[in-house]
Symmetry: C2
C-alpha cells in the first residue's frame, strides 16, 4: 500500500506540477516554476528530479507521464501533434531520454488542426480527463487561459477547436501599454460593462481600448473599474467571436479559478447551459487515462 | 533677412522636433529623442535649449510655439483640452515657465470629446495646418500612428473623432507576445491577406492572432508574411470599425511614411477617395497658423 506506482506531470510554459501516484490515488504532489520556457533541452531531467527524486524507489523503474509544452519543439522531446478529428489521447507516447535509470519518461502529444491552423498541448489531456469523468459526453469545452480554447467534442473525439489570444492580450495591455497607468484592482461592475460592450460590438475592440485611457484622463475612471472593464471587453469579444462554438450547445468550462468564473458568468448571461470543473481534476484524470492506455499496450505486447 | 523670428516645436511622447522660422520660412531645423516620456517637468527647458540655444538672438525675446504631449499633465505645463465641436486651434495658448529670458514658450491645447471619451494632443495642430493649406475643406482626416485617429471635419471645426490603439497593439504583439518569434521583415502579400481578413471579420481578431502562431508552427509561415499579415489584420479591423467615419466621405491621410501608405492602400481598395499629405508639412502649417493667431491677439491687445 501507498508505494509509488507512477508519476503524473503537468509541464507548461511557466509551471511544473507533479503528482506521485499509487494506482489512482495521489500520495505526493509538488510544483515549481521550472516551466518549459526557462529550460534548455538538457535541463528538464534535473528540474523533474528536483521535485520527485525523494519519492523514487531504488529497486524498480517508475513510469512518468508528462502533458503540456514539455512536448514542444523547445521542450524535452518533441512529441509530434496528432491531427483532429481524433480522440484526445492516441496510442502513441514519445519517450524522453533520461540519465537516471529509475525513471522512464513518456510525453503525451498535442493536437493540431490544419484549417484554420491551430494547435494545443496539454489541453488534450484535460479534455481526455473530462471525458473519462463524464463518459459519453458531447458538447463544447472551453479552456480559459493565456491562450483560451474552444473545443467541439463529439462521440469521444475532438472535432475542431479555436484558440484566442485573449489572456495574453490582457497581460500585454495591462502591463505594457499606455493603459497600464490607469489599471489596478478589480471592480465587478467594470467587468459587466466591458462584457456587454465586447459582446455587442466585438469589432470595436481597438477603439474601446483607447476609450479606457481617455475616460481615465477626462472622467477620472477608477483603476479598478478600468481593469475589470478591459477584461470584460476582451472576454466579451472572444465569446462573441466563438458563437459558432457555443450556440445551441452545452459548455463545460475546465478551470475553477477567478478567470474561469468570468467565462461562466458571461455564458450564463447568454443563457448557455454551462458547468465548471477544476482543471487539476481533469488534468489528473487525463494523466490517469494516459497511464491506463500505456499499461494496456504493454500488456498487449507482453502477451 | 533670415533672422530668427520664432520657433515651432512638435514635442511628442518619444520625439522632439524644432524649426527655426523667419516669418513663414524655415531657416533652421533639428530634432532629438528627448520626448515628453523621458523628461520631468523641470527638464523641458534644457531639452529645448539643447537644440535651439545657438539660434537665439541675444537682443530680443523669441516666441516658441509647442504642439503635442508637451502640454499633457506629465508635460512641461498642462494645457487643458478644448471640447469638440470646435476649431482645431482656439484663442488660448498656455505659457510655460522659463528661466532663460530669451524665450517665451506657448503650448497649444489638445482637444477632448466627452462621449465617447477621447483625446488628442498634437493632431489638432496638424488638422489646423491641413485646413490652412486647404481652405474650406470638409471631410474626414485620418492620422495613422501609435494611436491612430479618425476625425470628422466640417465648416472648419472638428465635429467628432475616434482613436484606435492599432499601432501600439502592433508594437506590443510583435515585440512582446508569443508571436514575436515568428515575425520579421515585410512581405506585401501578407499585408493584403491580413487586410482582407481584418476588413471582412474584424470581430475575429483575437482568434486570427493565434492563427498566425499556429501557421508558423504547422506550415512554416514565413516571418515576413506573418509580420505583414499582423499589420493587415489590425489595420483592417480598425478601418472596418471606422466605417461610420469614411463611408461616403473624402479622406485625407496626414502622414507620408510607410504606415500612411498602408492606410491609403486600404482605403483605395475600398474605393474611398483618399489623398496623402506629409505630416511635417501639416504640422508646420499648423504651427504657423498658431503663431499668426498669437500675433493677431497681441496686436488686438496693443491697439
Amino acid at each position: 500500500m501507498n508505494t509509488l506506482d507512477w508519476i503524473g506531470v503537468d509541464w507548461g510554459t511557466s509551471h511544473l506540477r507533479v503528482w506521485g501516484m499509487a494506482g489512482g490515488a495521489v500520495i505526493h504532489s509538488a510544483q515549481s516554476d521550472q516551466g518549459m520556457g526557462r529550460l534548455n533541452a538538457s535541463e528538464f531531467e534535473a528540474a523533474l528530479l528536483a521535485l520527485v527524486a525523494d519519492w523514487l524507489p531504488a529497486a524498480k523503474i517508475t513510469q512518468v507521464l508528462c502533458a503540456g509544452m514539455v512536448g514542444s519543439r523547445q521542450g524535452w522531446v518533441e512529441a509530434p501533434y496528432r491531427a483532429v478529428p481524433c480522440t484526445p489521447l492516441g496510442d502513441t507516447l514519445v519517450r524522453a531520454h533520461t540519465h537516471d535509470a529509475r525513471i522512464e519518461v513518456h510525453v503525451i502529444p498535442g493536437l493540431k488542426q490544419p484549417r484554420p491552423a491551430d494547435v494545443m498541448r496539454g489541453e488534450e489531456t484535460q479534455i481526455a480527463g473530462y471525458l473519462a469523468l463524464n463518459p459519453g459526453w458531447d458538447g463544447v469545452i472551453c479552456l480559459p487561459g493565456t491562450h483560451s480554447k474552444w473545443v467541439h467534442v463529439s462521440a469521444g473525439e475532438v472535432v475542431s477547436f479555436q484558440t484566442f489570444l485573449t489572456g495574453e492580450a490582457f497581460a500585454l495591455l495591462s502591463e505594457h501599454s499606455v493603459l497600464r497607468h490607469g489599471l489596478s484592482g478589480w471592480d465587478a461592475a467594470g467587468f459587466a460593462q466591458g462584457l456587454e460592450q465586447g459582446l455587442e460590438r466585438p469589432e470595436r475592440l481597438l477603439a474601446r481600448l483607447f476609450t479606457l485611457r481617455a475616460e481615465g484622463l477626462l472622467d477620472g475612471l477608477a483603476p479598478a473599474l478600468a481593469r475589470a472593464r478591459l477584461s470584460g471587453l476582451l472576454i466579451g469579444a472572444e465569446i462573441a467571436s466563438a458563437k459558432p462554438y457555443w450556440l445551441g450547445q452545452t459548455v463545460a468550462v475546465l478551470g475553477a479559478g477567478a478567470l474561469s468564473r468570468l467565462y461562466v458568468q458571461a455564458l450564463d448571461g447568454l443563457s448557455v447551459p454551462v458547468t465548471a470543473h477544476p482543471a487539476d481534476e481533469t488534468t489528473l484524470a487525463g494523466l490517469k487515462r494516459a497511464r491506463a492506455r500505456l499499461l494496456q499496450q504493454e500488456n498487449l505486447c507482453a502477451n
